[in-house]
Amino acid sequence: ADKMTLLLDWYVNPDHGPIIIAKEKGFFADEGLDVEVVAPADPSAPPKLVAAGKADLAVSYQPQIHLQVAEGLPLKRVGTLIASPLNCLMVKDDGPVKTIADLKGRKVGYSVAGVEEAQMRAVLSRHGLTMDDIEMVNVNWSLAPSVMSGQVDAVIGAYRNVELHQMAIEGVKGRCFFIEEEGMPSYDELIYVANPELMDKAKIVRFLAATERATQYIVNHPEESFEIYAGTAPELNDELNKRSWADTIRRFALRPAALDHGRYARFEEFLKENGLIETIRPVSDLAIDVSVQ
């Protein structure tokens, strides 16, 4: 079998369902692949290591690929793992923030990833607010705790399929404002990136085929697939993962290889408007469909 190294964006969590299932069910093996899966703690490292040729693929985020390509990293999106935003603006359900407009004069926590200010600006402008009306606080390692303990009134960057359940398990009911409903262009939350100069397209095609099969299996067999997922490591078998799994299934990209050019063009435009990139690049510089080119 051909060896392949995949860097996750973070520790194994239900977002990585198709990868885990493809490995456990032998779909990778069926494609003649032996995939080594490595999990880091800093999500910004894997794309760099792939760009440096230390791994074949990395799981990353669409907003990141725009910034990274703009900074000259030799990277391209080659597949999609989660095809919609997971990111949400999360508040306490019984808290003072009932609508976005209630954020005026309040604190919003975030974990620095690069684009959250732009996201907030987009969301606020819909409700007649500017960045001057709120205080942005970097809470880095503790999105859910900081909102639960009331240190901030909202956090941006929380995942609707994880943090909401986390709070629920701790006995705090949370609520999400979905940013794609509040003025943000929609995007792919999790994507696969590769170094276009070093990548072996055929191998990636096989990889994506295996994950596609795995996604179908998960959709068709939600309970069994969770059993398989939770069985891979004892620390994964818990209530949060169970709830989160159920909530994530409908977010997996059913066509991992397919590329929506418009999405990437719109997001590039959005970043340019917000001053995060200087020039607009053609989508072909950012993302490709490995199965056609």
Binding site: Y11, P40, D42, E170, E235, D238, L240
Partner: protein, 260 residues
């Protein structure tokens, strides 16, 4: 740094037990008095239950971390000692390498993480390197300070005896600096576990650091604190061991605890 060396093992055990009870009471008191929610700081009882429930899981991960720490500590101590000795013999090293060392120390390890994984991969090597890196400077710094503070009279003597700088270093400065090396090593014993854990955060699939981040990410604060507890307990044990060993190594150095 440890309790008086003139205590019997029974007294030490008793003191250790008292320390544990005091620590747990303090912890519980903080939880009660400050009303801090359990998802930020769970009480000792909750953590103990979690620890008992997950003992197998935690033990598996702990063994990995312990191995990383011990290897990192040994290599860090050796490398640190060698560097301090080298700084002592070489004025050039002292003037040029020392500022560079300080400079490099002030670079937070997270910034080096991609570099380390690029060179060392995601295996044990990068964690050992991280543990080594974090203790290297304290060992160099304290040992070098000790070497420098050698009684000038003994150095004069060595000179009249026709010693080469290297032999003076080995036979005079080295033993004279051992108590300071002990200081550095005791600091290292406390920090090596943190180094390994940071290494695991950079990228790992086992170890206590991995377990902690995972638990943190899942808001399983109980599990995180249980892992943390095991890590800290290991650090205390390592400290006690190193303390005992360095004390033996420098038994001639008259420490005056009970005579204040």
């Amino acid at each position: 740094m440890s309790a008086s060396s003139r205590l019997t093992p029974m007294q030490r055990l008793r003191d250790a037990l008292v320390a544990v009870v005091v620590a747990l009471s303090l912890w519980q008191a903080i939880v009660w008095l400050s009303g801090v929610p359990p998802f930020i700081l769970p009480g000792p009882w909750r953590v103990a239950v979690t620890l008992a429930d997950n003992i197998g899981l935690i033990a598996d991960h702990a063994l990995v971390t312990i191995a990383e720490v011990l290897i990192g500590l040994v290599f860090g101590a050796l490398l640190g000692a060698a560097t301090a000795l080298h700084l002592m013999v070489s004025p050039a090293a002292r003037r040029i390498a020392l500022p560079i060392m300080v400079f490099s120390q002030a670079v937070p390890v997270f910034a080096l993480a991609p570099l380390l994984t690029l060179w060392l991969g995601y295996g044990m090597a990068s964690k050992i390197a991280m543990a080594l890196l974090i203790i290297y400077f304290p060992v160099v710094s304290t040992f070098y300070d000790g070497l420098r503070r050698t009684d000038p009279g003994l150095l004069d003597l060595a000179r009249t005896m026709g010693a080469t700088p290297t032999r003076t270093l080995l036979h005079i400065r080295l033993p004279a600096g051992l108590p300071a090396f002990g200081s550095g090593l005791r600091l290292a014993a406390v920090y090596a576990p943190i180094g390994a854990v940071i290494g695991e955060w950079v990228g790992a699939s086992n170890g206590l650091g991995y377990l902690m981040l995972l638990a943190n990410g899942r808001a399983k604060t109980d599990l995180m604190f249980a892992s943390l507890f095991v890590l800290a307990a290991f650090a205390v044990a390592l400290y006690a061991l190193v303390s005992w060993a360095t004390r033996r190594m420098t038994s001639w150095s008259r420490e005056s605890l009970d005579t204040l």
